[in-house]
């Protein structure tokens, strides 16, 4: 009886380990899948926020604001809003 329980426990542990390993494993990345992901993650060029003529230098903005008689709009974030996250 004890031997049976030990065998069953071992089998269960083995199958759990296999399941975890399967979950962590990524299928091998093929050239086709890589090409597809490259396209999928490239944003369309016509995203509205990209049509805004953002400056990334505050002083450049200050000089333009003065010359064009316009207020500055500063989008200040943690991490660069155009380049991070």
């Amino acid at each position: 009886m004890r031997i049976r329980i030990a065998v069953l426990t071992f089998a269960c542990l083995l199958s759990c380990r296999t399941a975890i390993a399967d979950e962590q494993r990524s299928d091998s990345l093929t050239a086709d899948a890589a090409a597809e992901l490259l396209e999928e993650l490239t944003p369309p060029a016509d995203e509205p926020w990209r049509s805004i003529p953002w400056k990334i230098d505050v002083l450049d903005g200050q000089r333009t604001a003065s010359a064009e008689n316009k207020p500055l709009f500063i989008w200040a974030m943690d991490g660069h809003p155009l380049g991070c996250t």
Partner: protein, 299 residues
């Protein structure tokens, strides 16, 4: 990316910014620390708002060229932002010309620590990441934006590294930089980067114009981990890289203090790398992992 998908996707806000304002986008962690003309000017504006300059000053600011603050807002509702922008534009027109058209400022001092430029003769690679699956379905529109978001960052390479890649070799430092600072889940905010000791294994090789490899990253406590395969292509001409496309795809688990809300358990994460053409303003933005520490990032 919430703002990119909501506030700055609103047609009227986009139109106003294109015509009535001078739009500026910054990582305030730089300007609020910079000991130079730009830092002084930004702090002059931010100090008039509600934020303590010793902490984050994030938000939207409208100001005159003289530095007079007309609006501070950190609300993400596009309709509210639009209304406040219109109000502040009206207020701006009432200001004297000494405020509206104050003398343009010159960079009399430049704090080099916070003004890094892409390495001369090097490469800028655009990096994007996306979680491919694993989130619980939601009707919440803000959560949905995060769940489908594609993040952005830049990878910088030095002239020496550029030369090595063009010759068909991936320098160890490049592989480790790519892993530590760019194989991260930054789709919900600023991610924790990997320590060098958290690179459990990395293999990245070029053979006949194809890049192949794999990586295993894991924190000491085991609370974050990424196992991925890499595949891509590289072409060069006259000692210059003319194409670099690379994809990492694998399973990730865990999150950081500013990237809460990751899917539970293991989830598929893809990160793509593509040579920048220098046409995008964002190409000049330093890598997030280099913040105030470009030498450490490149070393």
């Amino acid at each position: 990316m919430l703002d990119r998908e909501s506030t700055f996707a609103h047609p009227e806000i986009v139109k106003l910014l294109r015509t009535e304002f001078v739009p500026i986008a910054i990582d305030q962690a730089y300007q609020r620390r910079q000991k130079d003309t730009e830092g002084n000017y930004y702090r002059k504006i931010a100090a008039q708002g509600p934020r303590d300059l010793n902490g984050t000053t994030q938000g939207f600011y409208v100001a005159s060229a003289s530095g007079k603050l007309l609006l501070y807002n950190n609300n993400r509702d596009p309709e509210k932002v639009l209304r406040l922008m219109k109000q502040s534009a009206t207020e701006f027109r009432r200001l004297p010309s000494s405020d509206r058209q104050a003398t343009g400022l010159r960079d009399q001092q430049v704090d080099r620590r916070y003004s890094p430029a892409p390495p001369k003769g090097g490469l800028v690679i655009r990096v994007r990441a996306r979680i491919l699956d694993g989130y619980e379905p939601t009707d919440n529109k803000w959560r949905r934006i995060f769940q489908t978001a594609t993040s952005r960052d830049n990878l910088w390479l030095t002239a020496e590294e550029h030369k090595s890649l063009a010759a068909g070799t991936v320098p160890d430092l490049v592989a480790r930089r790519l892993a530590r600072y760019h194989l991260v889940d930054n789709t919900r905010g600023e991610p924790p980067m990997w320590k060098d000791s958290e690179i459990k294994s990395i293999d990245l090789k070029i053979s006949d114009g194809t890049i192949n490899g794999n990586v295993h990253l894991r924190t000491a406590s085991g609370d974050r981990e990424y196992k991925a395969d890499l595949h891509g292509w590289i072409e060069s001409k006259g000692g210059r890289v003319t194409r670099l496309d690379l994809v990492a795809r694998g399973n990730f688990r865990g999150e950081g203090p500013y990237t809460r809300g990751a899917p539970r358990g293991w989830f598929p994460l893809a990160v793509t790398f593509r040579l920048a053409d220098g046409k995008d303003t964002a190409d000049a933005i330093p890598p997030q992992g280099s913040r105030g520490w470009i030498q450490g990032y490149l070393r």
